[in-house]
């Protein structure tokens, strides 16, 4: 029995009464993806398939009975192999994916920086994407206008904001995404390995910014394969394995156990910053 229920391990370690200042509570959540194996689901192929009894839907259990609590002001790191369900967990917290079973409770305004970055229409300019993304995320127009210059300045993209985003390099994409997410003054910041795209200078800058945010009373969830940054930024961490929460502890122990499990050792590659 390796997989522990988080609440069991966490409660004695943390001084908080359960639920007292919990910002994110994930209760026994499972997420099952039901995906069609067709490249593009169409009406035509559905009709043509009617006669035959072919299975075209596959179920993937991406999360299995995960429970955890994230406290106000804490920085939670999530590590795990590819396909372990980290992104799924974060998207469930963000309210993008509904849990198949269980319940997620989130207190506060969430800002996300997920693996896909900002921008939903590459033909729109950076400015339009920032405004539309912000409005969709629930910010008011005034808040956006107040933040806009800050966002652009941090991303250092002053000259590019009126260009269509298809003309951006992937690093510029990443910078804008990071800048939007951290400058929105969220109560909760969810980051899914979106920090690795910038050049060395921007990486340093975003790391500093993360430090600053972590020091404030914000709740941050950080998914990263850069174990070094997990150790440096987080004050608690979890290790996901095949959809299950395998371990929750302090970042050092998690990184140690995880690297031992992967059998790679804590070398330059795994510890690389952000």
């Amino acid at each position: 029995m390796i997989s522990l229920s988080v609440s069991e391990t966490a409660s004695p370690a943390t001084p908080h009464a359960p639920g007292a200042d919990t910002t994110i509570r994930v209760e026994d959540v499972s997420v099952t993806y039901r995906t069609s194996l067709e490249r593009k689901p169409t009406f035509k192929s559905t009709l043509l398939r009617l006669g035959r009894r072919e299975r075209v839907v596959r179920e993937v259990e991406a999360l299995k009975n995960v429970s955890l609590e994230v406290h106000q002001g804490s920085v939670l790191g999530i590590v795990g192999a590819n396909g372990a369900g980290k992104s799924t967990l974060v998207r469930t917290m963000a309210g993008i994916l509904p849990p198949s079973v269980g319940r997620v409770e989130v207190h506060g305004r969430v800002s996300t920086l997920l693996a896909l970055g900002v921008g939903f229409n590459r033909d729109l300019s950076g400015r339009e994407n920032v405004i539309l993304g912000g409005l969709a995320a629930g910010l008011s127009r005034e808040q956006l206008h107040a933040k806009y210059d800050e966002i652009v300045e941090f991303a250092e993209l002053e000259d590019f904001m009126d260009m269509p985003m298809r003309t951006y390099s992937s690093g510029m994409y990443g910078r804008l995404g990071f800048s939007v997410a951290v400058n929105m003054d969220p109560d909760i910041l969810l980051i899914d390995e979106a920090l690795s795209v910038g050049d060395a200078k921007f990486r340093k800058k975003s790391f500093e910014k993360m430090r600053e945010l972590c020091a404030q009373a914000r709740t941050i969830v950080l998914v990263s394969h850069a174990l070094g940054s997990i150790e440096q930024l987080c004050d608690t961490a979890i290790w996901m394995h095949k959809g299950e929460l395998r371990m929750q502890s302090d970042p050092e122990s998690i990184v140690h156990a995880y690297t031992k499990f992967l059998d790679v050792g804590e070398d330059a590659f795994t510890m690389e910053d952000l």
């Binding site: 229920s5 689901p41 169409t42 998207r91 963000a94 309210g95 506060g108 921008g119 229409n121």
Partner: protein
């Protein structure tokens, strides 16, 4: 295990106490529970929708800006298409009618095509509103219904200048200008409701069947022929009369023509049938969309 039981116990706490606990979080609280095919709690949904209404307007503004809607020439361009279509149909219908056209027929045709263009434009644009929402749908939690609603707003903004093109045609045709002409406002509103309902329906359907988009032009073309645009509602033979009632925008279009051509209030039955269709489709379209939207992020 014990934690589990505690959790359940906390959930049964009367709502008053629960609220008190959340005051310190300054309002925002989200609970996500499984209801993949169910309808989400309506109260919070509508509140979120209202809070983010600016998004729908901004999206519509951005779409129009991309089409150079703000320049005079851009507006002319948008008007040109339905106007040319009106000329083509005028030629066709005039030949079929052996030149016997009632007084004001061209105005009827142009007016009808313009409103129909509002309806079909909203539906045609909205069909890809969700599937084209891409990363925004994948990365942000917001009421997705804003996406098809935004296309209805866009279509409406494009309809307004066409109405101003209609006015001189109306006047040149010598049609009456009366106070009853104001009936066009509720008529356009019922059509907008129908358009919104159908838009939501096709936008959700497109996620599951990506070829809805390719069927749609045919459906919309047939729909237009089944509506009293190329002919007057009172010319419909008796055994086809049911079609007018069965067509959600049939009655409003009949009323539209009646008001503009004759300058008096439309028959109440047309307004009521139109309103019933509009309200019915808006509610069912919205409920269908909402019951499906939690599934979109996985399907894109």
């Amino acid at each position: 295990m014990t934690t589990e039981i505690e959790t359940t116990a906390r959930d049964i706490v009367p709502p008053g106490e629960g609220e008190e606990r959340h005051v310190e979080w300054e309002g925002e609280q989200h609970v996500y529970e499984p209801h993949r095919v169910g309808i989400p709690p309506l109260g919070p949904y509508v509140r979120e929708l209202w809070r983010r209404r600016e998004f729908a307007f901004e999206l519509s503004r951005t779409t129009l800006r991309a089409q150079h809607f703000e320049t005079a020439f851009g507006q002319l361009w948008l008007v040109l298409n339905p106007l040319l279509l009106a000329f083509v149909y005028f030629l066709l219908v005039d030949i079929l009618r052996h030149g016997h056209r009632p007084h004001g027929f061209f105005a009827h045709l142009v007016g009808g095509i313009f409103v129909y263009y509002f309806f079909s434009g909203a539906v045609r644009e909205s069909v890809k509103s969700v599937t084209g929402g891409g990363r925004l749908v994948l990365n942000t939690a917001f009421p997705r219904i804003l996406l098809p609603l935004s296309t209805v707003i866009t279509a409406f903004k494009r309809f307004v200048p066409t109405f101003f093109i209609y006015i001189p045609i109306h006047l040149i045709s010598g049609l009456p200008v009366t106070l009853a002409d104001l009936w066009v406002i509720p008529i356009v509103l019922t059509i907008a409701m129908t358009a919104a309902g159908v838009s939501m329906f096709v936008a959700a359907l497109q996620v599951y069947f990506r070829d809805v988009k390719s069927f749609l032009p045919y459906v919309l073309r047939i729909w237009m022929y089944a509506s009293p645009i190329l002919y007057y509602a009172n010319e419909i033979p008796n055994h086809w009369n049911w079609l007018l009632k069965a067509n959600p925008i049939g009655s409003p279009l009949a009323a539209w023509s009646e008001v503009l051509q004759k300058g008096h209030a439309p028959p109440p039955v047309d307004m009521l049938v139109g309103l019933a269709w509009g309200a019915g489709l808006l509610v069912t379209g919205a409920l269908f969309f909402m019951s499906r939207e939690r599934d979109f992020a996985v399907r894109l």
